[in-house]
Symmetry: C2
Subunit: 500 residues, 2 copies
């Protein structure tokens, strides 16, 4: 074999896998957006077949042989090719550690679980969904043990989303956050609360909110020829290639701000995917490197851009145009304060920046407990509610607004949640670094976001998976990761807003 031959074998397999993943992704997107309620069973059969094909391709002996040959001859490869082979081997090693029938069975399970979760959430019926949580977590523990028999399974799960992440590091991270956030939140709560009452008690028609979403996509510079928006129970982003990215949102007629921040958040994910370097397109290295880095981009756009004063000042005239009666007499400054109101609340995706990490902490501790057996699936709603009481001081009225609120577990995204808090912290460190050379507030105010998006493209987006997450972050900010940038940001912001 020569490296040219081996690369040819490798590329042929990768292209076929790409096609299968594209098809599976569109089937799932269709299932979550517009497919009829009873379509899940047929889709499950199709996904099972396609995932079996994908499994066979990824674990094909010819591919393994080619990839290992290339690894052994990496000195003859371009740096990009060598990196791609490394990334491929990591992924295929994981896949190959799982027996094919279990791999396919898990895809079938998740497809079913998603349909059950949708209904269970609407009905606030935890009992209906519980067997699926049980099965999904048990499968994740089993898969983690197949892959790394000697490692704590939850460490393996965490590391699948963020290479190198462990419970020890996550505990330390959340410890650092709690130490600053909990007293800060206490001080905030002692102050007079921001008045956001003008946002409530009115109806914001979905049709006008749809137009608002279109506008917001333009404001944050999303190319609509390459990215469209759909509607789902739970907002998400999915991507097939640089010319085909999709975001979704969920409209709440009683409040336009929920969807507004879903669109900007998912838009941040989309921007990352839409700006992978051209040289990476068609390779395994295209797209976001990890979920934490992905969340750093989505939460950057949502919070550091979208919840800033100049951003609200910029978009407020459009809000008043779309919702003239609902926002009559309201000022941009009132809106700025309202979207930054810090207050313990029930729903993670609607939480303010200050309390957000506490929502994530609840989920992290629960996942850890489900993995080590200290929490049972039966006990989950009780534990969930107790943790919300402990960390956020609030009572959860029903499972719809409690343990059933997120789609992550039904989608098999176990070990994902810490990414949100880590991403916020990565993003804050990027913001601090960006501010050394970019007048971020001025760029937002000017309506030309390109100094901000240009920095992100230059330091993050274009690299795809060329570097591991921590290396990418360190190259971008010139220093190791430090959560203090995040807590400093929160302290500065909320000190001003609440006159602490």
């Amino acid at each position: 074999m020569t490296t040219t031959e081996a690369l040819k074998i490798y590329r042929e397999h990768i292209e076929k896998m790409r096609a299968l993943h594209h098809a599976m992704g569109v089937l799932s997107l269709d299932g979550a957006t517009v497919a009829p309620a009873e379509s899940a069973e047929g889709r499950g059969r199709t996904l099972a077949y396609l995932s079996g094909c994908s499994y066979q391709l990824e674990t094909a002996p010819a591919l393994k042989e080619a990839a290992e040959y290339l690894k052994a001859h990496s000195a003859e490869l371009s740096a990009q090719d060598a990196r791609e082979i490394e990334v491929f081997l990591r992924s295929s090693e994981y896949t190959a550690s799982i027996p094919q029938d279990e791999f396919v069975g898990y895809v079938t399970l998740l497809n079913k679980a998603d349909a059950v979760w949708h209904k269970a959430k609407l009905d606030s019926d935890y009992a209906a969904f519980a067997p699926y949580i049980k099965d999904i977590f048990e499968t994740n523990v089993r898969f983690a043990k197949y892959y790394k028999p000697d490692q704590a399974p939850y460490d393996t799960a965490l590391g699948r989303y963020e290479r190198g992440l462990t419970m020890e590091k996550t505990d330390a991270f959340f410890g650092a956050l709690k130490e600053r956030i909990v007293p800060l939140l206490k001080k905030v709560m002692a102050k007079p609360q921001v008045d956001d009452s003008f946002l409530w008690g009115k109806t914001y028609p979905v049709e006008a909110q749809r137009r608002f979403s279109d506008y917001l996509m333009d404001v944050i510079t999303i190319d609509k020829n390459r990215c469209t928006i759909g509607e789902t129970e739970h907002p998400f982003t999915t991507m097939f290639n640089k010319k085909d990215v999709r975001i979704t949102t969920h409209y709440h007629e009683e409040n336009p701000v929920y969807s507004m921040y879903s669109v900007i958040h998912e838009g941040g994910h989309a921007l990352y995917e839409l700006h992978t370097g051209d040289a990476l397109e068609g390779t395994l290295l295209r797209g976001g490197v990890s979920m934490s880095v992905h969340e750093s981009q989505s939460r950057f756009m949502e919070n550091y851009v979208g919840r800033s004063r100049p951003f609200i000042e910029r978009i407020f005239p459009k809000m008043q145009e779309l919702f003239p009666e609902q926002l009559a007499g309201v000022t941009a400054e009132q809106m700025f304060l309202a979207v930054n109101k810090a207050e313990p609340s029930l729903i993670r995706t609607e939480a303010d920046e200050l309390t957000y990490a506490l929502h994530v902490l609840v989920r992290y501790e629960i996942e850890k407990g489900l993995f080590d057996g200290s929490i049972t699936v039966e006990d989950l709603p009780r534990i969930w509610n107790a943790k919300y009481k402990e960390y956020l001081g609030i009572d959860v009225p029903d499972d719809r607004r409690g343990v059933l609120q997120d789609s992550h577990w039904s989608n098999g995204n176990v070990g994902y949640f810490p990414s949100y808090a880590l991403g916020s912290a990565y993003g804050a460190q990027m913001l601090a670094k960006m501010k050394e050379t970019v007048d971020v507030e001025a760029a937002i105010a000017s309506g030309d976001l390109s100094p901000v998006t240009g920095w992100l493209e230059e330091h993050i987006w274009k690299y795809g998976k060329l570097y591991d997450p921590m290396e990418l972050l360190e190259r971008a900010v010139g220093a190791p990761f430090d959560p203090k940038y995040f807590t400093d940001y929160l302290e500065e912001k909320f000190t001003k807003i609440y006159n602490l």
Copy 2:
């Protein structure tokens, strides 16, 4: 080999092909509905790969051997299994006659053509689309010759949509129609025209039209848990299984009737697919047997139900509720007359029942000419416009409303158009037979359509592909096909409406 073993091999292949077709169908649906404009290229690569897999499965030697064994031992099979093997062998014989690279190349071509057609139609730019028409027709001629070297290629193309159909039969059919329709239309045009001016000059918001579609789907008894509606440039129906059927429509803000009849027409297709007999589900025999029979169901619902007086009387209150200002002072009788106004027009999908067949005739003659070389692609717009002048007496102002109006050619549906006129005629014969035992008008008026849908389910829908089209029709109506039922229906209806 035993029949049990052979059936097992057969079923395994069929299930995999079903999965691939499901994935390809959802990718195409997504492409036509919500995918970003630039996504076509990536989708094309995926479709090419999946269609190659499907080709290999359908033409796999093991499958061929099993199917031929089963055919030779059909006496040992159930009637249904024997029929399924026959249907499979017909299809696989066609597929196997085409080299794989050309088969896959055609899928890629169509994916590209569809994107080009969308833009060309919007821009009324025939030149942009012409190379694709040329390529598509040439490919169809070549494929027809591969399959049946000794048969006129257009006969082969027609027979692919309607088994047994030939140019000779189609010529005779259109001859019989013209003989009655042309003089009837002349008489109609000599009478004072129906006044439908109240439908024009107003705006019918898309949001209200969407609610109208939801209502119409309920009225014609579509189970929304198994069928949803999307929006496309050109309305169509696509189906994956009995629990997953999709229809689409296109909203025109200037007139609610266009989308209304698209929804009812596509709804007729959907009902046929949603009511395949349970025993056929999962086999190749599920779903509509041919495009003509399919169109007989869609045009039955659209015209024989949807353009009837009791139907308009039933839905008119809802129309007034949704469009109160636009329809102020209008009566149900005025609406009934307006939706039955017979008048030569530009757009096939918006044509009245009387002139509709003439639109189809134009397309049929053009396809015939493109196949035999008497019409060139370059000449197509001129010929199109000349035929509209000749048969319908009208001038085509631009190609957007002329040769570019339909999506069929860009989708490779060459030889399909006669199905619409044949379907209308099949449907009229079914209606006549149905009226022997069902009070159709009373059922429509009552709001309980089940006597009508029950008859169609019992005589058509439940049989899937168990019988060839002509046999199915003859079993349903107890007589050979005769277009006079259709022309009688038109004569009776328009004599009354226009007081001829």
